[in-house]
Subunit: 133 residues, 2 copies
DNA sequence: TTATTATTGCAACAATGTTGCATAAAATAA
DNA sequence: TTATTTTATGCAACATTGTTGCAATAATAA
């Protein structure tokens, strides 16, 4: 993770470095509102474009849970494009509200007869490990 | 399913009946754009409010898949509120583009140590049974 | 250092969704 | 059926979210 931006072949600008550092700082997924607050100087349009290119280059991925605003999290795996294939679960805690990527021992194998499943997205809501303790 | 609107204790208006008939006509989930096209006379605001109350009363549920517009489908189960607990999978076909609710034999049991899972949402993308044939 | 290429930020726009309020319609009571 | 109450509708106006053209600026390559 020395130089993710250069590795992904996008120019390294102060704005992008700051956005990236915000995502790496958090251990969970965050919505744009948090990125905005963390940025000391922010431009709406540039942020949208930054999010877009980070998604395209496989730097972050988007988590959309019904009733929530979009959340974004760093890709742990080596995602090359915006076609992500994460073997983890997206969890939304109903108490603290945090959305996070949770690794799971064995990712379930879903079989639908006659269908061909290429990608799976599993979302769970409930109580996170902190709030459930 | 004689009178769903009355059963759910919301007034029965021509607009709501027409929207409901559109949802029942389709065997898959549909986005608002299709509802609009099917309605002969439509008002944007009234449609939004109709969708909202249908969601609240458990008449329809929303399916949000990354990169797609929201899709809506009739609730098969007896959903009372907007807290849905469907034991099916939301499938998006990458060829025909259709989003549908697919029943599955045994719904997977996900176990995350220390977490308490209250609801699960499983989304799959790939080829539907028609496109995979 | 210079030339080339890509990013930024402004303005303007587009799409999506919400709210107050007067009118109209539906449900309920008489 | 008719009168009363309750709820839905549609307009206008606004709010939020996301996009695009373009000139200035900054980053990369030569
Ligand atoms: Mn994730
Ligand atoms: Mn469904
Ligand atoms: Zn929590
Ligand atoms: Zn298909």
């Amino acid at each position: 993770m020395t130089n993710l931006l250069k590795n992904k072949k996008i120019s390294e600008t102060p704005f992008r470095k700051e956005v990236l550092s915000i995502f790496t700082k958090y251990n969970n997924a965050i919505p744009l509102s948090i990125v905005e607050k963390e940025l000391r100087e922010y431009n709406r349009i540039t942020l949208y474009r930054t999010i877009k290119i980070f998604l395209e280059k496989g730097i972050i991925h988007e988590i959309i849970i019904t009733g929530e605003k979009s959340n974004y999290a760093i890709c742990q795996e080596e995602c090359v494009t915006n076609l992500h294939y994460h073997q983890h679960i997206h969890f939304k805690c109903n108490r603290c509200g945090i959305v996070s990527c949770v690794e799971i021992g064995k990712f379930p194998a879903i079989i639908l007869p006659k269908y061909k499943i290429e990608q799976l997205e599993i979302q769970a809501t409930g109580l996170c490990k902190k709030c459930n303790a």
